[in-house]
Symmetry: C2
């Protein structure tokens, strides 16, 4: 299928994701024409970094770019899209996991989503080739353009509709945000007792690597899956000064036990 090769991109936003995408696009030879951002300092910094022009409002973006990428917080997508004037046929794309494509409907007739499934932090290198990119577009040609753009960056590029993308984002919260918080609780427990968090490094890595093959619940170890009531009781007791961690420990452990019993019944 014939499609437009995306070569000139303008970006609204200068947060972590905007920053990483802008740099990754540049590495693939794509020109960043303009950057706009509510915070001028951050916006100019990114514009300078990628040799782009800074414009002070989305309404001043030149609609002649092949694509305008809206990489702002979910709550701001609609407002930014609405203020892009004369977008007309310009391909307007957002980068959010949990926002449907329809948020862009009023702003352009050609819209899409370009969602990299990874958490991004400024100053941390991301090997983009390993980051799955999920793509959606209202019309087929734009979809091809976004798939092509995705393949320039990553080895894994998939068409995913808005409904599935929301599910994927929800799963990513469980697979990444919540484990990170669990690590943080572990770190706090150790710090309080003057024990080095580095002791847990091998365990954390090994557990993450073990998930690779799927069927993760069969790999569950620990006192909950063994239904070891003495240890569960001891652990709740040790957490007596942290009622919130105590509740988390108890709820997750009970859920593991119930999940096990459900599995056995099937």
């Amino acid at each position: 299928m014939e499609f437009m090769k995306i070569q000139h991109v303008s970006i609204a936003g200068a947060g972590n994701l905007a920053w990483h995408l802008a740099l990754a696009f540049r590495e693939c030879g794509i020109t960043i024409r303009e950057v706009t951002n509510r915070n001028r300092i951050a916006g100019k910094e990114l514009a300078d970094r990628v040799n782009a022009r800074f414009v002070d409002s989305p309404s001043n973006l030149d609609p002649a770019a092949d694509m305008i990428l809206i990489a702002v917080s979910d709550n701001a997508i609609h407002e930014v899209a609405s203020s892009i004037r004369n977008a007309g046929n310009t391909l307007l794309v957002h980068t959010s996991g949990s926002t449907g494509i329809e948020v862009l409907r009023e702003a352009s007739s050609n819209t899409g989503v370009f969602y990299p499934l990874q958490t991004f932090r400024k100053g941390t290198y991301v090997a983009f080739r390993n980051v799955p990119v999920c793509v959606e577009a209202i019309n087929r040609q734009d979809e091809e353009s976004l798939l092509d753009l995705g393949r320039m960056l990553s080895d894994t590029v998939m068409r995913i509709n808005s409904e599935d993308r929301k599910m994927l984002h929800l799963a990513a919260v469980f697979a990444s945000n919540f484990p990170n918080y669990m690590y943080s609780i572990a770190e706090e427990i150790l710090k309080t007792n003057d024990l080095p968090f580095s002791l847990l490094g091998s365990l954390i890595r090994q557990t993450a690597a073990g998930a690779e093959g799927g069927d993760v619940f069969t790999r569950q170890t620990g006192p909950a899956i063994r239904e070891d009531k003495n240890i569960l009781e001891t652990h709740l007791q040790l957490l007596k000064n942290h009622p919130d961690y105590q509740r988390i420990y108890n709820l997750i452990s009970q859920s593991i036990i119930q999940h096990k019993e459900k599995d056995v019944k099937l």
Copy 2:
């Protein structure tokens, strides 16, 4: 300090940990003399594998070994230790994170703990050199013997008393068992929607690797730390058919938000 070099070991237990330790000891040139286990088939299998004699009860273990290692479930340690007759001065050691050294008190005057901080599954290779080993003993010479034994297996060997070891085990539940359950929930969400779990591999690995440096809470990303109420609401709605996952999602998210506000106040 002069200490006895541990060269001949007998083992009570044939579960995952007993199995991995027995093989690791053998690789270091240590002789496994005898194996005992309640389940005879599993016990004999391990004994055969490491060229040891199988004995049908702990009471028949030859107390002439340098060390008798009790690698059984926490609830059974006391019973197994009590039934080892004539232990007298034999170094009696258990491998439990959450059981104090005092559980062995009545069985021998020389007791210790040898606790490798890792989850073990049969048939899964473990690079023991990366597994921290925590050691405790009632008397100094035995402690030196166990430290020496630990160093034969691992690059990280530490003296840790029973109280700290319990904290370490609790932290390990948060760092490993709970993240694994989070992965398992993510996998279930994706499966239900015919999406491949492999999409999350890079994210899971990257999050685990990111914990390496400590200060993990500063790396927290996602809707909870951004206090993005719309997405939190959307996610709870998507989980409406999984009330237990909904409760976990809500409790962890609220805890992240509270933790953030506490950090800001400090």
